[in-house]
């Protein structure tokens, strides 16, 4: 990757960092988490594609790179599906059992 490309990518990352930090102080309600995660994904993709050179690497390497994140998505989706649909009361943390 060219020096120019590297520092362009760095500038984009810094802009996104400023944007996500500023957005965190704007009252967006329940959209807050989604917005900050969306920006984090864009930042991660910039690092993965340019710094980690997935752009231009062969398809097998890309498949390996995707695999970890794919399994992670399954893990998060299934455990979150469980927790969001529990109807039992949770044990209060601050009261003796």
């Amino acid at each position: 990757m060219s020096a120019r490309g590297i520092w362009r990518c760095w500038a984009a990352l810094m802009l996104l960092l400023a944007l996500t930090t500023a957005l965190a102080f704007v009252p967006l309600g329940s959209a807050q988490l989604g917005a900050s995660l969306a920006i984090a994904c864009v930042k991660a993709l910039l690092v993965l594609f340019f710094f980690m050179e997935l752009k231009g690497s062969n398809p097998l390497i890309r498949a390996f790179a995707c695999a970890g994140f794919f399994w992670l998505l399954i893990m998060i989706a299934l455990t979150s599906a469980d927790y969001t649909h529990r109807t039992d009361q949770r044990v209060p943390v601050d009261e003796p059992g």
Binding site: T21, V47, A67, V93
Partner: protein
């Protein structure tokens, strides 16, 4: 660790290069899941404890976290400069960029250390010094997550810093072959540690700021 000569199982240098890169990505996929379990736990806590958990996140030091994110992103750019200089055949520039990378990594650890110290003084460290009556049990769970996640991240960064210093010495003293993939592979590891932080930062520091 250096692949100075083409080892016998490969047909050519390009195949060897692809194979070692693939091996590194296979390792990184296990690391994605390693940190991913922590992040999955975070989401479950957030669903389960709701506003109390988010309120605890507000006690983290957002200024320190933001500066540290900037430091780490810059270190990644320096690492990319080191790799691109090395692949272009230069010897001196990559060593300097690697030193810059290691120094930024150490700066991150230093800032994190100050943050931990302040949290210790505020009695926010579970098991060691936690003011339970004041902050409550959900906050203790949040800070347990916080110290596990940032502590494991810092450990990875320390490993990365050691590798980068070792690599700078090896390139500087000419003990590494020009065709070697080692620089690129250590670069991949460094950037991965950066990616982990990119996700930890909003989850830990930015949650509940506008509430």
């Amino acid at each position: 660790m250096t692949d100075e000569v083409l080892t016998f199982q490969y047909a050519d240098a390009a195949q060897q290069r692809d194979a070692v890169t693939l091996g590194m990505w296979a390792f990184l996929a296990t690391e994605v899941l390693f940190f991913g379990t922590l992040i999955a736990a975070y989401f479950n806590y957030r669903i389960w404890f709701g506003p109390e958990f988010i309120a605890a996140a507000r006690m983290t030091k957002v200024l320190f976290g933001t500066i540290n994110t900037g430091v780490l992103l810059t270190s990644s750019a320096c690492m990319a400069m080191a790799v691109s200089g090395y692949e272009a055949g230069s010897r001196r520039a990559p060593v300097l960029w690697l030193i810059a990378t290691a120094l930024l990594g150490l700066a991150f650890i230093g800032i994190k250390g100050v943050e931990y110290w302040l949290e210790y003084q505020e009695h926010l460290v579970p098991a060691l010094s936690f003011d339970l009556p004041r902050y409550g049990g959900v906050a203790e769970i949040f800070f347990l997550f916080y110290f596990c996640a940032t502590g494991l991240h810092a450990l990875h960064l320390l490993i990365g810093i050691s590798l980068v210093i070792w690599l700078a010495i090896w390139i500087g003293t000419g003990r590494i072959d020009r065709e070697s993939s080692t620089t690129r592979l250590i670069g991949l590891y460094w950037h991965f540690v950066d990616v982990v932080w990119i996700f930890l930062f909003p989850l830990i520091y930015l949650a509940g700021r506008s509430g």
